[in-house]
């Protein structure tokens, strides 16, 4: 994917020079290995700041919410699905956007790589499908497909679903992926086992809300956990309040989540918060044949009613 950057810069330059956009939202090189920083450029002299590699896991749709400018936005598959969702939910207008689509081969999992070594990872380079990790006294070559973020390894929408420009030819989509094996494993647990599983899962939570804030879907002017009149949720480390936050956050994403993995990537204490949303994604697929952000002209199942909707629970 390194090869994409020349094309991304060329398109960005053209859009800015022609005045078709006021800004381009993309990534600039991070100050640490395996990190890039979401950033914007407003004049074409700055396009060389833009980068693209396997460390662009942040969902850039999150940076479009309620903006007024005309924006060129770099969008991999999941970002483009969240852009579709944003358009459907009136968080940005289609005609404000020039979408620079990036066919994606997945983002690498920074946590996984960091945990593989006892000492600090100082440098990570990629070339084709090989990722070289270096630190004091070690150098290891890894296969990119072995170190992908979990959501990327299960992704079946690597190509952008909506775009105006393309940074590279479309890539082949992954086939025969079992995306919900982990969900089925938890579904098969007894209620007591499930309870314990989720208790252990969220035990490290410090309520920083990075998962919520990294998510393009979470744009409420005041989140339910921040409401103070009335106050729905307590502010302490009380287990019930922490559970309430995680369960409700997930439910607010039902039928809207694109499994971009931004929440999990952002969590400073490594909670696999996608364990909640994956179950809801699976249910939406099973019950409504629905995947969020794929169809630009259809309302999501939870804000429409169709006679054929499964409704056994009210019959």
């Amino acid at each position: 994917m390194l090869g994409y950057i020349d094309k991304i810069r060329e398109i960005s330059k053209r859009l800015l020079d022609e005045g078709r956009v006021d800004m381009v939202v993309g990534f600039r090189k991070g100050s640490m290995p395996m990190m890039n920083e979401p950033s914007f450029i407003k004049n074409s002299g700055e396009v060389s700041k833009l980068v693209w590699d396997s460390n662009c896991g942040i969902n850039l749709a999150n940076y479009l919410t309620d903006r007024k400018e005309k924006i060129g936005v770099i969008a991999k598959g999941c970002d483009s699905r969240n852009i579709v969702t944003h358009i459907l939910e009136n968080k940005i207008k289609r005609d404000q956007l020039v979408i620079i689509g990036v066919p994606c081969k997945g983002m690498i999992d920074r946590r996984l790589i960091t945990a593989m070594f006892d000492t600090e990872v100082r440098e990570v380079n990629e070339k084709g499908d090989t990722v070289t990790v270096k630190g004091a006294g070690f150098e290891k070559k890894l296969k990119k497909s072995d170190i992908l973020q979990d959501n990327c390894s299960k992704c079946i929408h690597r190509n952008p679903v909506l775009y105006d420009e393309l940074a590279a030819p479309l890539v082949e989509e992954q086939k025969d992926i079992d995306r919900y094996a982990e969900v089925r494993r938890i579904e098969a647990m007894s209620p007591q086992e499930k309870w314990q599983y989720f208790e252990d899962l969220i035990a490290p939570c410090i309520r920083c809300y990075a998962c919520r804030n990294a998510c393009p879907l979470c744009y409420c002017p005041t989140c339910f956990v921040d409401e103070s009149r009335p106050q729905w949720v307590g502010k302490s480390q009380d287990e019930t309040d922490i559970r309430t936050f995680h369960f409700l956050r997930a439910y607010h994403c039902a039928g809207r989540c694109t499994d971009c993995g931004a929440c999990e990537r952002a969590c400073p204490v490594g909670i696999k918060v996608r364990q909640f949303t994956s179950k809801l994604n699976k249910d939406c697929l099973d019950m409504f044949g629905w995947e969020a952000g794929v169809l630009p002209d259809q309302r999501p199942p939870l804000d429409t009613f169709k006679p054929a909707d499964p409704g056994d629970f009210i019959k």
Binding site: M32, S39, F40, N43
Partner: protein, 355 residues
């Protein structure tokens, strides 16, 4: 002060003895990272770590702390009267705290222990604590302690400094509190004459490994209003998602909120960590928010740490260079970069509007 030599075979025994008179906290490895936890009897701290993911500030200053308890039951003669919650201020010790984190307690003390205001919870908890530092032989690439008023072998805020000398530990008693703990542990073999030299050489080696530096010398001279209005804040804050990761992981962030929580006929008044990154932090009863955008909030975090604090206390920046906010920021906002931008800011040079 004396330097003791601790044979690695005497380590576990000493830890056990400390635990008979102190509540002992130390780094413990969870699924993916180390954090400070209260150690069970017989549990050893795991010192094979660079630094903990979350700072040890919670050992003295918990994320949620009950101050008062009350009853709302009018049949109870004491109803609606705040009563002190029971607290344990018996001696405790943090073993394995890094020097940067130990120094952070002295910064926080400037806020919680002043001639005007004293936070009794923080002060009593702090005074009950003995700080057993663990010198960094191998600092991380994101550590910038040496230019943030600390260092890998810095002794500020410590009662004891432990140095891993390979085949043994050296424990340097820095305060009487530290000597007392070493006695309690039974670590009383005075190290041979060369130990100070050995520690000094390890210190020199470690300091040479610090590859991150910040410049802070001009911050005090800058005009507050000019820094506040600097054009770079839009660029600095763009990526921010306004989560509380940086402030919650930071050893020097001290802000809290006070909440009452009722359950049935009883309730508690508690302190909870708060974060200037959250819109709720500053929202007024009217609904007006003076820090209504993320640019306001990001600017506040950096201005507080790198300008307001610098001017108020004239004792350096409100940062010890531990690098946690850099390592854990989900979007890679880097305080080293912002500090250098602020320190070198020249409004004259930026007089032409940026297109």
């Amino acid at each position: 002060m004396k330097v003791m030599k601790i044979d690695k075979n005497d380590w576990a025994g000493g830890i056990g003895k400390i635990q008979s008179s102190y509540r002992l906290y130390g780094p413990v490895k969870g699924d993916a990272f180390h954090d400070f936890k209260a150690l069970e009897k017989g549990e050893l701290p795991d010192l094979n770590f660079l630094n903990t993911r979350i700072s040890p500030k919670s050992v003295v200053y918990p994320q949620s702390e009950i101050m008062f308890e009350y009853s709302l039951d009018e049949k109870n003669p004491d109803h609606h009267i705040m009563k002190d919650a029971a607290k344990d201020y018996s001696p405790k010790a943090i073993l394995g705290i890094r020097p940067c984190d130990a120094a952070s307690f002295l910064l926080v003390k400037r806020n919680f222990d002043t001639t005007e205001y004293k936070d009794p919870y923080w002060i009593r908890s702090y005074e009950a604590t003995t700080f057993i530092g663990y010198a960094c032989n191998n600092p991380c690439s994101t550590c910038f302690c040496t230019t943030a008023g600390s260092g890998p072998f810095n002794e500020d805020g410590l009662d004891i400094l432990l140095t891993d000398a390979g085949d043994c530990w050296y424990a340097k008693a820095i305060t009487e509190k530290g000597e007392k703990l070493l006695n309690a542990a039974g670590w009383n073999t005075i190290a041979a004459g060369g130990s100070l030299k050995k520690i000094a050489s390890l210190k020199k080696e470690a300091e040479a490994k610090i590859s991150s530096l910040v410049s802070t010398d001009q911050l005090n001279n800058k005009k507050t209003t000019e820094l506040y209005e600097a054009p770079f804040w839009e660029d600095v804050s763009f990526a921010c998602i306004n989560c509380g990761t940086c402030t919650f992981l930071c050893p020097t962030c001290w802000c809290f909120d006070i909440q009452d929580e009722n359950s049935g006929c009883s309730g508690v008044r508690m302190k909870n960590w708060d974060s200037c990154m959250f819109p709720l932090f500053t929202i007024h009863g009217t609904g007006h928010n003076p820090r209504g955008t993320k640019l306001h909030r990001v600017r506040q975090r950096f201005m507080h740490k790198l300008k307001y604090y610098v001017d108020k206390y004239e004792n350096g920046i409100q940062c010890v260079g531990c690098g946690r906010c850099i390592r854990s920021c989900p979007v890679n906002i880097d305080i080293r970069r912002v500090c250098d931008m602020m320190n070198s800011y020249d409004p004259e040079a930026c007089a032409c509007p940026v297109k």
